[in-house]
Symmetry: C2
Subunit: 154 residues, 2 copies
């Protein structure tokens, strides 16, 4: 089990876009109960099953397992809660830190968020100009909640 410490920001402008191609993700949920979310994800030919506990500040328990891509696709197509989340993930370097920028599609089109993973909750990091409002603790932006309440309906 790993503890995951992440901070999340809304993205403003297009300066973050670089030449690197993004990776297309499909992800869905077998449980969106916040105490125990269970996520199915396919990305670039790989499948993953991820269990997360409840967040305590920016920290939460996480267990992730690689599974056969065919299993992941079958669960996404027939078992997961509807709708599935689809997004393209870009990895963007900024002054020695790597950010993950997620540009959503489908029912969440128009939403772009950037996440940075930290070693501790109080770790300092340089903040790029395209990292706008911080939404780490805003539950509307949790992927699990973007299913029941997608961005286009806000």
């Amino acid at each position: 089990m790993a503890k995951e410490i992440e901070r999340k920001f809304l993205v403003v402008g297009d300066e973050w876009r670089d030449a690197a191609a993004g990776t297309f993700f499909r992800q869905g949920y077998l449980s969106t109960v916040k105490e125990r979310t269970v996520r199915v994800r396919s990305k670039g030919g790989q499948g993953f099953l991820t269990v997360k506990g409840i967040s305590v500040g920016a920290t939460r328990a996480e267990f992730e397992y690689e599974i056969p891509i065919d299993d992941a696709n079958e669960m996404l197509d027939s078992l997961c809660e509807r709708p599935i989340i689809e997004k393209t993930r870009y990895r963007v370097s900024y002054q020695g830190f790597v950010w993950e920028v997620d540009e959503f599609a489908g029912d969440n089109a128009g939403l772009i968020v950037a996440e940075i993973e930290l070693a501790s909750e109080d770790q300092e990091f340089p903040r790029p100009s395209w990292a706008g409002q911080e939404v780490t603790d805003d539950s509307r932006y949790f992927n699990a909640n973007l299913i029941a309440h997608p961005f286009k309906a806000w």
Copy 2:
């Protein structure tokens, strides 16, 4: 993904008990929604994460993955819905077929059920005298429901 066809019976008497020791199971659920149950199980030093779809007759979709035992125990201790199910499983041979007999403990003490796995829904099999009432389609006996409504409270 495997399709699982099982029939389940209440057990009567003690004739099924043989010399073989049973294996102690602990299991809990990350989702008990019937369209997508997610089970965590530890047994004899091994951990498993199992995803099941909704039952259509005696058939349901099942995906099972072995996970580190420490992960399974941590999820059982801190993430799964309460209470955890605890039971001892015995494998009992009868005229060429192997039955799994589950003797429950804790909040479900007193309940003993026997399951047989079949290749098709209409496969014939010899029925031992200790296999009593069939409860295959009785949702009260689904493991997921034995958490919210344990046997001792019936």
